[in-house]
């Protein structure tokens, strides 16, 4: 949890406290239709280059419409000037053979319908996860389940990280953070899961997407990312409270971002008996 997040969450605490006595209901919104925009999500890893090209979806869409774009020309360029044209697979996915090397800058160009979208990214080192555990934290006589990560920061440079937690293969939690305040040291990150009561209550009324059940597979992907990727993801993380769009990562007017990284992946099977108590 970054200081920025804490500031935001603290300011929202009042709202949340007030909402404890509040009620909620669904409301109808007459969404304004806009022309679809192109969305590009590109990644260079030590294995290959993958790019997904799609269009924005209408807020009024009620079925899983095909947003994929299959007629784009996708080119990834390496620092030595080599241009690698990606091959189209399916559902808007393009793959190139270019493999990333830490410290090298890569450029992604996407040409579609007479438009060109360009972004660059510098490949980062593979991050180091020192430890992961699940922990109980008691709040107001309720035990809340937290995931705790300890990540070793690289010495001598400003670093940015992206962590994505999957539960049974589906996105569960994600965050981005920098090493400000912990440069060169071990960085602790926490993510909330659910309460012990939710896990014990087989008739739990809270959304199934929040509860971690006995035997669930937890996958944690950690990336060290460059500042441009961090700016994009960080602004995406806070956009819902601000009602603004993320900082543009591509030139040319498309949405999305491009990042070169080498992920570290950790697998964990959840068993309630393995959850540790908070350190006193």
């Amino acid at each position: 949890m970054r200081y920025n997040d804490i500031v935001i969450k603290a300011s929202q605490a009042f709202v949340l406290i007030l909402l404890l006595t509040a009620c909620e209901k669904e409301v109808d919104i007459d969404y304004h239709e806009v022309d679809p925009l192109y969305v590009v999500e590109g990644a260079v890893t030590e294995l290959r280059t993958t790019v997904h090209v799609s269009r924005t979806r209408s807020m009024n869409a009620t079925d899983d419409t095909d947003d994929a774009v299959d007629n784009a020309l996708v080119v990834v360029s390496t620092p030595d000037g080599k241009r690698d044209t990606a091959t189209y697979g399916n559902r808007g996915n393009y793959v190139a053979t270019t493999k990333g090397v830490a410290g090298q800058a890569y450029r992604l160009d996407v040409y579609v319908d007479g438009q060109q979208f360009t972004s660059t990214s510098v490949m980062q080192q593979k991050p180091v996860l020192n430890n992961f555990r699940m922990v109980w934290k008691e709040m107001f006589s309720t035990r809340i389940l937290f995931g705790e990560l300890l990540i070793q920061d690289f010495v001598g440079e400003e670093n940015f990280y992206y962590v994505h937690v999957f539960r049974n293969g589906f996105s569960y939690r994600w965050t981005v953070f920098s090493d400000r305040g912990s440069a060169g040291k071990e960085i602790k990150q926490l993510f909330t899961c659910c309460t012990e009561d939710d896990i014990d209550d087989s008739d739990s009324t809270i959304s199934d997407t929040d509860v971690i059940w006995e035997g669930d597979d937890i996958t944690i992907e950690i990336r060290a990312i460059d500042r441009r990727s961090y700016d994009y993801l960080s602004s995406m993380q806070t956009m819902s409270s601000a009602g603004t769009n993320p900082i543009a990562n591509f030139t040319g007017g498309c949405l999305g971002y491009f990042s070169a990284y080498s992920p570290t992946t950790y697998y964990y099977e959840f068993h309630k008996a393995d959850v540790e108590e908070e350190d006193e």
């Binding site: 804490i6 009620c23 209901k25 806009v34 924005t56 994505h164 926490l190 603004t244």
Partner: protein, 687 residues
């Protein structure tokens, strides 16, 4: 409407009532407010509202807490910031563009429980006037409205007091002579008591949640010509959740005033003032700890001269303030960042109220504001992305950047008949303290900064005109006012930034222009068993900032087209008074997505326009009944007040959030509402 403020609250006013001396400029408005219609027609200042403080006693209120700010929200041209806030918005301005003065001292974020109630104890107030951006030259420092509060003085002849207990808090006051007919004091205190009960429960015994406020005013007649007045006010809130969260904020103001009568037609008022607003917050979650603090401090001198020369009533003065603003100081692990700056804010003014025959009256004035950002702290230049490209470290004594703003003020009244007046005015105002909020409403977490080389003063121009009419007896009166307001250098967030993105606020925002216009109608019934008013406001407010919303004009977050406030009091019997308030607010502007897309297995919203959507309308009926019993033998008055907030349990919008299904096929918009039906009761004894 009945209700003289000084007369009522001093209980036994004297000819030398110090409140009237301290605010002679408003005295006529205060003491004649029992004939409010006459006052509204005859006062020269357009866009000024004198509040009827007496009505606060019986007006319906949330949890039974009497709140002057909630009454301000019911005036024409004034909008409630949100149901969770006692903040108010005037003529297209935001609540942080208002200035609240308490006996000359500015008060910032004066709210308890995160702004739910104002920190001003109604028992401590003598008079309150709201200037809706149209202000005489002696007032300044706000680009929107000025709420001028005058603290009540104690009784010089007799001892009086009260004790009161409600659902949330208990309060008491005591007043009496320091020396008979020479001086008096008044002290009022209020404290919430819910924490005393929380301590008894297993689940909440480790939590702390309280607020209190204390008001003190003392005056002393040094001679026939000299009087000394001391005002002190403090409010404090604390919310601590186990060992994880500890949030505190407080206000302190103090003024010492010397009033000197110079002959029969001139007077001098010299005031030393100090004001502090401070926040102090800490968080600790499983070893991840973070703290941050901020403050605003003002210290200075305010000098007024008032002279009556024939048909001219002159007011000249100066004010010199040293301002200190700590935008933020935060500490997380090894990270420690702090930004604090100082400024010198100097003002001189001259205002003349001229009577021209029996029908015309003119108030003309000029205020000159000289604001200097002082050295001793870092300043920056930034590029178009907000990145710092140059750092300045001016010496402590250096005037790093100075802005000079002449602010002309004009108000003209023409009264062709005894029951009709026409008014028009122009006002130019400026503001050098800028505030950024993370929510749509103010919270104790707002961040403030002074004008600098990058942040220019907000400058507002307002034109207003209207007519005022009343029946021959003053039983009814009608006012219609229109306004056009423009403002420059208003701030809004850059895309992707929020108020915690960096310690340097100037890097997070872009500056632009605003415009607002509207009409305000108010019909009042002032006498008889039934009194009250119907206010209707028709308003528009827009903002344009290069870099936001593609540089196009967009609806300001305060934009709301229709506001209706109906306020009624019915004196059923000698002992029973019934009150009701009904409000209707059309949809508030807010930002909603216009498309969605998938990034990193998450559905992300695309915002095509800022504040391009409208929330559902808000409406609510609040009622109260007050029983009053006077016992002549013991000179005591007992008072029971029963109230119901939101009588028909309307679920009004407070927050609207969006969430999507995993496959992006269904977006759900959820509206959160704060308060349903809330009953209240309070008991008060006065002696």
């Amino acid at each position: 409407m009945s209700g003289g403020t000084v007369a009522v609250w001093s209980q036994q006013p004297t000819a030398t009532d110090s409140t009237s001396i301290a605010r002679e400029g408003q005295l006529k408005e205060v003491v004649v407010s029992a004939q409010g219609a006459q006052q509204r027609l005859s006062s020269v200042q357009i866009g000024a509202e004198q509040l009827q403080l007496k009505e606060l006693r019986s007006a319906p209120s949330l949890f039974g807490e009497q709140d002057i700010m909630r009454q301000v929200q019911l005036l024409p041209g004034v909008k409630q910031e949100s149901e969770a806030s006692s903040g108010f918005q005037v003529r297209g301005g935001t609540s942080v563009q208002n200035q609240i003065l308490y006996d000359e001292a500015p008060v910032y974020n004066a709210g308890h429980i995160g702004g739910l109630f104002s920190a001003f104890n109604a028992e401590a107030l003598a008079a309150a006037t709201l200037y809706k951006g149209m202000t005489p030259a002696m007032l300044g420092g706000a680009s929107s409205a000025v709420l001028d509060l005058t603290a009540r003085t104690g009784n010089r002849q007799q001892w009086h007091g009260l004790g009161s207990i409600g659902l949330l808090s208990a309060k008491g006051s005591l007043e009496g002579p320091i020396q008979r007919n020479k001086g008096a004091f008044l002290v009022c205190a209020r404290r919430s008591y819910m924490d005393l009960f929380l301590k008894q429960t297993k689940d909440f015994r480790d939590n702390t949640m309280f607020f209190y406020d204390v008001n003190l005013k003392a005056d002393y007649q040094l001679s026939d010509r000299d009087q000394l007045l001391l005002t002190f006010f403090t409010s404090r809130d604390r919310l601590a959740l186990e060992d994880m969260v500890d949030m505190r904020w407080k206000n302190i103001t103090a003024t010492l005033r010397w009033v000197h009568q110079m002959g029969s037609s001139a007077r001098s008022q010299t005031t030393l003032l100090h004001s502090t607003y401070k926040t102090d917050n800490g968080f600790d979650l499983m070893g991840l700890n973070f703290s941050y603090t901020g403050h605003i401090r003002h210290t200075g001198l305010h000098q007024d001269f008032m002279v009556q020369l024939g048909n001219h009533k002159l007011n000249a003065g100066l004010q010199s303030l040293l301002m200190r603003v700590k935008t933020a100081e935060w500490q997380q692990l090894a990270l420690h960042e702090r930004e604090e700056r100082r400024a010198w804010d100097a003002n001189v003014w001259l205002n003349d109220v001229i009577k021209m025959g029996s029908q015309w009256q003119l108030s003309a004035g000029l205020r000159l504001n000289v604001f200097s950002a002082l050295g001793g702290a870092p300043y920056y230049d930034i590029d178009e992305d907000g990145t710092i490209i140059r750092l300045f470290k001016p010496k402590h004594s250096k005037l790093f950047k100075t802005y000079i703003t002449p602010e002309p003020r004009l108000s003209l009244t023409y009264r062709p008949t005894a029951t009709l007046s026409l008014k028009a005015g122009y006002s130019h105002t400026s503001q050098n303290i800028h505030a950024l909020r993370n929510q749509s409403t103010s919270t104790p977490f707002d961040r403030y900064m002074l004008s600098s080389n990058l942040a220019k003063p907000e400058r507002a121009h307002q034109l207003s005109a209207g007519f005022f009419a009343m029946t021959p007896t003053g039983s009814y009166d009608l006012s219609v006012e229109g306004y056009w307001r423009t403002i420059s250098n208003v701030l809004d967030y850059r895309d992707g930034k929020n108020f915690g993105s960096a310690i340097e606020l100037e890097r997070l925002v872009l500056a632009g222009d605003g415009r607002s216009y509207g009409m305000e109608f108010c019909l009042r019934k002032n006498s008889g068993r039934l009194t009250g008013w119907i206010a209707y406001t028709l308003a528009w407010a827009q903002t344009r900032i290069d870099g936001v919303n593609q540089g196009r004009w967009y609806w300001a977050a305060v934009d709301r087209r229709h506001d209706i406030d109906i306020v009624a009091a019915y004196h059923l019997t000698k002992r029973w008074t019934l009150n009701a308030t009904w409000i209707y607010y059309s949809g508030q502007a807010f930002t909603a997505p216009s498309a969605k897309y998938e990034i990193e297995d998450n559905w992300v919203y695309y915002y095509a326009e800022r504040n391009g959507y409208r929330a559902p309308a808000t409406h609510r009926l609040d009622v109260s009944a007050t029983w009053t019993m006077v016992t002549p033998k013991t000179h005591t008055t007992r008072e029971w007040a029963f109230g119901i907030y939101n009588l028909y349990n309307r679920k009004n919008p407070f927050l609207i959030s969006f969430e999507d299904s995993e496959d992006g096929t269904q977006t759900t918009a959820r509206q959160y509402s704060l308060f349903g039906l809330v009953p209240s009761v309070s008991f008060t004894v006065r002696f």
